[in-house]
Symmetry: C2
Subunit: 208 residues, 2 copies
DNA sequence: GAAAAACTTGACTGAATGGTCAAAATGTAG
DNA sequence: CTACATTTTGACCATTCAGTCAAGTTTTTC
């Protein structure tokens, strides 16, 4: 049985990958409750019992997908460099997050949905790992402010502001597209958005 | 039958209100698919068939709740005054939206969930009513910029930025609370957040 | 190349849930 | 008070869906 054996076989590696890819699409579109195993199985091109052979419960698939996407999401945040130039570091981070919103909106939506419904599957993660990381980066920002290299703003709210704004373009994609003038929703769209955001944000935190 | 008769009776008025209140809570917590009619009926203190007497389909309850909350959400936006001081108008709007996030987070979450899943119930509304309104306000901002009373930023992205940031405190409440330092999640929390946001945002759009 | 292990699936089960119905209870108009 | 309309509900139905099972097929191992 797949789960009882620690070592993964060749086929297990392949099929788990296929399943997780299909599951990300389905879960991010319909939410946990709104998705069915049949849907995921069909998208993955295998029978339901076969899928359940790899992930015995629906929740197992969901949690695994969620954990994987969390990593993507956090990597650029971890990479904020205390030794770098504050404005430049914030610009870099914001641009990377916008890229994520552009290239992997499903991940963002999956995560948003989880939080929106009270984060039942990742409460602990938020309170331990994520909190630790945010505290660390908030400290970095506080030091930048103390050194006069950034305007005095609450570092936590600054972080939230970047998160909120960048994720908005993935999570609220439908609304953004519905509301934006026609031509604007073109190729350069995410670049334009990033520029606009950065103008406001960086002017807002530049020391004066 | 309740729906065939245009004029609403006393009891209909009362019970529809009770149902919609219960439904907002349930739908915003679990999403459309994740909520059951039984749950709503129990919270409303009546039997399921009785509830279905007032709203024959689950979707009818959902759409009605959603429409009601949309109005709350848009009123302060409509009230942005072209004749007012730009910075002051943006401050006022941002503060009002933060208040909504603080006082009625369920509405915000219900709406976020709907958009996140592709806005199946309000696509048309977004593309017509909301778009018209946003275009109008974007024009107002463009004029402010032309008059040199605001830094030159894309008005649409400015609007999105305010939406994203203010709603974050309702929609991502769980994450915010998990990550913020303990004492900070206190009484003045939303005021602090509003101040931090406004500092960055208004500095970011002040003409220089 | 045979035995064992890993993989795959059609057919099924049981619980949850949206919605129906007919009969009973309550409210209301004259 | 009486007749009529409105409201309420227990019992029920049909469907959807997570998860099981036993029997078959393919892959790996020696």
């Amino acid at each position: 049985m797949a789960s009882s054996n620690n070592k993964r076989t060749r086929i297990q590696g392949i099929n788990r990958g296929i399943i997780l890819e299909a599951a990300l699409e389905v879960f991010s579109t319909y939410g946990f409750r709104g998705s069915t195993i049949d849907q995921i199985a069909e998208k993955a091109g295998m029978s339901k019992p076969n899928l359940l052979y790899y992930f015995p419960r629906k929740e197992d698939i969901y949690v695994t997908v969620l954990e994987n996407t969390l990593e993507d999401w956090l990597t650029p945040f971890r990479d904020i460099d205390p030794a770098g130039d504050p404005i430049e570091e914030l610009r870099k981070y914001t641009v990377l997050k916008m890229k994520l919103s552009a290239l992997r909106p499903e991940s963002s939506r999956l995560f948003a949905n989880e939080i929106l419904h009270g984060a039942p599957a990742i409460q602990d993660f938020l309170k331990s790992n994520l909190k630790r990381l945010v505290d660390e980066k908030a400290n970095v920002i506080s030091e930048w402010i103390a050194e006069g290299r950034l305007a005095p703003v609450d570092p936590y709210h600054l972080i939230f502001m970047i998160w909120a704004t960048t994720q908005h373009y993935a999570d609220f994609d439908v609304q953004v597209r519905a509301v934006m003038p026609e031509q604007t929703t073109q190729a350069s769209f995410f670049d334009d958005a990033a520029n606009a955001i950065l103008t406001i944000l960086l002017n807002g935190v530049k020391p004066r």
